[in-house]
């Protein structure tokens, strides 16, 4: 069992957090990651910024732009990871071209090799569907890294089965169509997540063999609780954390507190204890 799957099973229900590396600097990212680790994140995704983030909403796009403006490179990124000592395993989230271009020739292997060397446990590539993933999966296998697949609301039937069967680490269950980031109302996203989970047999934790974590629009402890209660093995939170990075006067403290809130919510969900703040219906849309 991979580090990632082990972490999720051990810390079930799992909190998975995302930050863009280099936003606003790699030094800051180091402090933020450590804060999340302290706050209870069980897995940490680190975004290696790419200039064309087609799967991201405005919040993460802005984070990526800040990171690129700050001069974040793959080399710097890996040095950051070299330096990080977290309890939570680390994953890199980046676009396929960044992986291909690392090294002298377009080839996925140098990147994976360096990722393994830096101690990363897995890779998520938002623009790499299963159909195009053989070379990268082979390289990941060679170096003991998980290649995490995303399952979207449009993923159905045979394709869903095939992806589930290839999955390692965890399956990233995309709560709804669209891009990353909180929309006008976060509770809609929560409801979408719950609907998504109905497609799987989630009566038991990790019930289909591989853990399922839900992302896209999760931002509060109560949403985490709802999602976990509905059967998810983990929740993935990104944009809500980026907002803290961008806006907080004390991001380190606030990130740690946010991780704590989310983790508590997840645990509450696992205990079936969401009564305190039930989400009965979508809130009205904000204009």
């Amino acid at each position: 069992m991979s580090d990632i799957e082990a972490a999720i099973r051990e810390h079930h229900p799992a909190l998975i957090t995302y930050l863009t590396a280099g936003d606003p600097s790699l030094e800051d990212t180091k402090a933020y990651v450590e804060a999340l680790d302290r706050g209870g994140a069980d897995l940490i995704e680190l975004g290696l910024p790419f200039s064309e983030p087609i799967a991201e909403g405005p919040t993460i796009q802005a984070a990526i732009n800040r990171a690129l403006d700050a001069g974040t490179t793959p080399a710097g990124f890996f040095e950051l990871v070299d330096d990080l000592e977290t309890e939570a395993p680390l994953l890199v989230m980046t676009y396929y071209n960044m992986i291909l271009q690392y090294g002298d020739e377009p080839d996925v292997r140098p990147f994976v090799e360096r990722a393994a060397e830096a101690g990363l446990s897995g890779i998520i590539v938002p623009d790499l569907p299963a159909e195009e993933s053989d070379p990268l999966r082979a390289a990941c296998d060679d170096h003991g890294l998980d290649l995490v697949f995303i399952v979207a609301p449009t993923t159905e039937g045979e394709r869903l089965e095939r992806i589930m069967s290839q999955a390692s680490g965890f399956v990233y269950v995309q709560a709804r169509l669209g891009t990353t980031g909180a929309r006008a109302d976060v509770s809609n996203a929560t409801h979408d997540s719950l609907t998504r989970l109905e497609e799987y047999d989630v009566s038991e934790p990790c019930s289909d063999g591989v853990p399922k974590a839900v992302g896209f629009g999760v931002s509060e402890g109560d949403h985490a609780a709802e999602i976990i209660e509905a059967g998810a093995d983990g929740v993935i939170v990104g944009s809500a954390l980026i907002d803290i990075v961008a806006e907080s006067d004390d991001p380190v403290a606030d990130l740690e507190a946010k991780a704590e809130e989310l983790k508590r919510g997840a645990i509450r969900g696992a205990d079936g204890g969401t009564d305190a703040d039930p989400i009965d219906a979508p809130e009205p849309e904000q204009p």
Partner: protein
């Protein structure tokens, strides 16, 4: 991959079913003419689009270069460029597929206006993403789209130009994929788009091939087309690819220089086929203008329609196997090409097409005795740019435009 090592489907998982649905529709409707799709497409391109376009012998260019020069007149297609061939094909296909809404990106506005026209013609709701910078630079095209009843959504990210508009359209598509078709504007994007767009554009070369045989009694020695994303290029070349004796020249925008500014991620050109390296952008493996790390460069050309850091994967493949010769001419040669055709032949070409004409001027001796040049569009849209750019240069082919003196 789709073309040698190029092509593929590098898209978010959420889009994969749509891309596969499109693949299926492409095979059935386009390749197999199911429900008479291709018949209807051709009929509409005739009645609405104005096809076939002429292949015209350019008398004064022929004299100037001492060889037979023929112009394929895509500038006469409805809307003023070859763009409608693709836009109408895709909007019609979306209709056959039961989609209810059209989205597209646009840079300078040519693909946007073509899509807006096609959507109005076929009564499909349409939204176009366009960078805020481009909106401000290309107001007439924005107005044209609005006149056709299309929404124009400003994109403020990044430099507010084509690349960002594509990104944003992909994001819309990832949200609305179940009801919406994304009309990609060139032979780029995930499979089957490069083949689909090529097949809709292939009418250019099919007509030209038949016309030149009728007019000159034989196939040409060479065919020249400008290349940005490559839709007019592949459209012109496709029918000639099996004709080994016909040389194919893809003329890219050399901009101000072929050097790149790695530090600022700027390429002062759009010569992807000539100088690019392999990578993945907007759904396909192809040649790209990118930094060593893999960040996509800001490209540049005096011609907004060529100003793109990628290129169609099939062109990358045809260049790799030696079937297509990549070439480039700089902004100044393109501007001179613009003025020369306007002055000598009474045809004001698009700045995109002017690159092909600039190459003709520079390299006609390599092109053999019988040359077909694709005039991909008309240049009315470029008048302001040309005036500005001409003012700052000493162009041999430019007229004095000062009549407003007093």
């Amino acid at each position: 991959a789709t073309f040698g090592e190029y092509g593929g489907q590098y898209v978010p998982e959420a889009l994969m079913p749509a891309v596969q649905e499109l693949e299926d529709a492409y095979e059935r409707y386009v390749l197999e003419n199911e429900d008479g799709f291709m018949d209807e497409f051709r009929e509409r391109m005739r009645d609405f689009g104005g096809r076939p376009t002429p292949l015209q012998r350019a008398e004064r260019l022929s004299e100037r270069y001492d060889r037979e020069i023929y112009l394929k007149r895509e500038d006469l297609v409805h809307g003023g460029a070859h763009k409608l061939n693709n836009a109408l094909g895709q909007v019609l296909l979306a209709k056959y597929m039961g989609k209810e809404r059209i989205i597209a990106e646009t840079g300078a506005g040519q693909h946007g206006t073509a899509t807006a026209m096609a959507a109005a013609h076929l009564d499909m709701p349409c939204e176009i993403y366009m960078g805020r910078t481009d909106i401000n630079r290309q107001r007439p095209n924005v107005y044209r789209m609005r006149m056709n009843g299309t929404e124009v959504n400003p994109v403020t990210a990044g430099s507010g130009t084509l690349k960002e508009a594509i990104n944003e359209t992909m994001r819309d598509w990832a949200t609305t994929v179940e009801t919406t078709h994304y009309v990609i504007g060139s032979v780029v994007g995930p499979h089957p788009f490069p083949k689909l767009v090529r097949d809709f554009q292939a009418v250019i070369g099919q007509e030209a091939r038949e016309q030149i045989r009728e007019r000159a009694g034989r196939l040409p020695d060479s065919v020249v087309a400008c290349a940005g994303g490559g839709s007019n290029t592949m459209g012109t070349f496709h029918a000639f690819v099996p004709d080994d004796e016909v040389d194919l020249y893809a003329v890219e925008a050399g901009g101000s220089s072929l050097e790149i500014d790695e530090e600022n991620a700027l390429a002062p050109n759009s010569a992807t086929l000539s100088t690019g390296t392999d990578g993945v952008l907007h759904g396909a493996m192809t040649k790209l203008l990118q930094s060593e790390d893999g960040q996509i460069m800001e490209s540049h050309s005096v011609s907004a329609g060529l100003d793109y850091a990628g290129v169609g994967p099939e062109l990358s493949h045809l260049v790799d196997i030696g079937r297509v010769t990549p070439a480039s001419v700089d902004d100044e040669a393109a501007l001179n090409g613009f003025h020369r055709l306007s002055n000598l032949e009474g045809i004001i070409p698009a700045l995109e097409s002017s690159h092909a004409l600039g190459y003709l001027e520079e390299q006609h001796e390599e092109l053999g005795d019988l040359v077909v040049v694709n005039v991909s569009g008309r240049g009315d849209k470029d008048l302001e740019t040309v005036l500005e750019e001409t003012e700052n240069r000493d162009l041999e082919a430019a007229p004095d435009v000062e009549v407003f003196g007093q």
